[in-house]
């Protein structure tokens, strides 16, 4: 298997971007990444797009060809692929593109992730997100997406004594990090009281326990390591990638307070990278709800099972804490355009490892990790990155 590096990154601002269309967003992110990589359109061998549900959000399928077209690449007749895996689709697109280069099939691939969520109302958007849970045996019976995560939170409280303050600490931390990220949807710090006093969405989760609905896109340029240095002095290597699946419905899983798919994907990625959790200084993990980040830091091995809440409250995962988790603000504050998530996480880690993260720079970041979920944990993808020097 050939080594693969990221040689360029780009992203749009995330938010409720009424004036921007899906194509506008996809193109902006792609062009930024291509300019950052200093490649020309002739260098690109293929385009991979992570997108969860353009068909439902904007009535448009076939978006990989669309993005390549509006990026001015139609005449090159490039292979274009859309990858779907619920909220993990962006991370999966990156996974598949890495395989394609590692296999020797392609040398340079542009990976984009995009979602345009605000062309539908918020109730409809929530129902579309719930489409990644089990429609026939969860949603039909009244389980909303937030409701499913709330049931994990309730059980975590029951088994480990986790409190609402612990969950709220995730939101407070990620909003603080988001305030340092000029592309984040939310750029204001919030207090513990704000989180605790917010209206319920699905008890025990309130409004500030939930990531927002967002528009946005992100892109990275992947290149075979052997050619990467002809484009950049600072290629960021993909050291390991792991993917895992689990029962689609939450109620069928072994545990309601641990995601086995995360544990498996993390172990596979770390094994490939020949690293342990303690070797990772910076991580972007899936925090579509506050409980999700707590489960993630436990299941990835950053903290002991059941201790995720107190660890977060104690600052273990704060910027430049023991491991900096979601320096970008995460899905919670940077925003959650679903298809963009996995790619945006990689963009943040690349910036951190290059030392280009500005006010939110993690000091001495050598290895970074991304963790992305589909549904309530039926898909998990973990990538590990490192500087190539």
């Amino acid at each position: 298997m050939r080594d693969v590096a990221i040689i360029g990154v780009g992203e749009t601002p995330f938010g409720e971007l009424w004036e921007r269309s899906f194509r506008d967003l996809g193109i902006e992110a792609g062009l930024k990444a291509i300019q950052d990589a200093k490649i020309g359109s002739d260098d690109i061998d293929a385009v991979y797009i992570g997108n969860m549900s353009a068909g439902k959000f904007i009535d448009q399928e076939h978006v990989a060809a669309l993005v390549a077209d509006y990026a001015g690449l139609a005449d090159r007749h490039l292979p274009t692929v859309r990858v779907e895996g619920g909220g993990a689709c962006g991370a999966l697109a990156l996974f598949q593109a890495r395989l394609a280069i590692a296999s020797g099939m392609y040398d340079i691939v542009v990976v984009g992730g995009a979602e345009k969520m605000t062309d539908v109302g918020d109730v409809q958007a929530a129902e579309i997100l719930a489409g990644t849970a089990d429609q026939e045996w969860e949603s039909v019976f009244g389980a909303t997406f937030a409701g499913l995560y709330a049931m994990m939170a309730r059980r975590h409280m029951h088994e480990y004594g986790t409190r609402r303050e612990h969950l709220a600490a995730v939101a407070v931390k990620n909003h603080k990090n988001g305030s340092l990220n000029p592309n984040a949807q939310f750029q204001r710090e919030i207090t513990m009281e704000t989180v605790l006093q917010a209206p319920w969405v699905a008890e025990p989760l309130g409004l500030f326990d939930c990531a927002p609905l967002s528009d946005g896109a992100a892109a990275v340029v992947l290149c075979a390591m052997e050619r990467a240095r002809s484009f950049t002095d600072a290629p960021i290597r993909i050291l390991g990638s792991g993917q895992a699946s689990d029962f689609l419905a939450l109620h069928d899983r072994r545990s309601l307070t641990a995601m086995d798919a995360t544990t498996e994907a993390g172990a596979r990625a770390l094994k490939q990278a020949k690293l342990a959790p303690k070797d990772v200084q910076v991580a972007e993990v899936h925090d579509n709800f506050t409980i999700t980040e707590i489960l993630a830091i436990e299941d990835l091995g950053f903290v002991e099972k059941g201790k995720g809440g107190p660890a977060t409250l104690d600052g273990v995962t704060a910027l430049n804490g023991k491991v900096s988790v979601n320096p970008s603000g995460g899905l919670k504050a940077r925003g959650q355009p679903v298809g963009a998530t996995g790619v945006a996480q990689a963009v943040e880690i690349v910036r951190q490892l290059r030392g280009e993260a500005g006010k939110r720079q993690v000091v001495g970041a050598k290895h970074g990790l991304t963790h992305t979920l589909g549904g309530t944990g039926a898909t998990a993808v973990v990538h590990i990155f490192g500087r190539a020097d």
Binding site: E127, E136, F141, G142, A150, R154, P199, W200, A202, L256
Partner: protein, 133 residues
């Protein structure tokens, strides 16, 4: 959504019909063709099996942001229930105030309306749970 999508699930939704593995005896709901524990050994040995509808509450949430279909019911309680046969399923917990719900409480299945297709559309029914009497 087309009517057959709901119609074809009627046996399980009305009468809690799942499957029991003829190889290991594990009960699944909804019905499965292959036992997740036994794999190929279970092929052709998955028999229809009716759940008792009795069980206990494993976890729950009180839904305040409801889908359009359930707007009139909010806030409502949704839970994961472990049946006495060992299998778990998800539905609403009814006939109890949210403040009185406790993990571990005994429940039994009841037949209720789940939703309907628009103003004058087909009504679909299925199981919900209430505290055991």
């Amino acid at each position: 959504m087309a009517i057959p999508r709901f119609w074809r699930e009627i046996p399980s939704r009305y009468n809690l019909i799942g499957t029991k593995c003829g190889s290991c005896g594990k009960v699944d709901f909804p019905p499965r063709e292959i036992c997740p524990d036994c794999g190929r050994k279970s092929l052709g040995k998955m028999h229809s099996f009716r759940l008792s509808g009795k069980g206990s509450l494993v976890t729950f949430a009180v839904v305040h942001d409801a889908p359009a279909q359930l707007e009139m019911q909010k806030p409502y309680v949704v839970g994961i229930f472990e049946m006495d046969e060992g299998v778990r399923l998800t539905s609403q917990l009814i006939s109890v105030e949210p403040g009185d719900v406790k993990i571990g409480m005994r429940v039994q299945a009841v037949f209720r309306k789940l939703g309907q297709q628009g103003e004058a559309g087909v009504i679909h029914y299925g199981y919900k749970f209430r505290p055991s009497l």
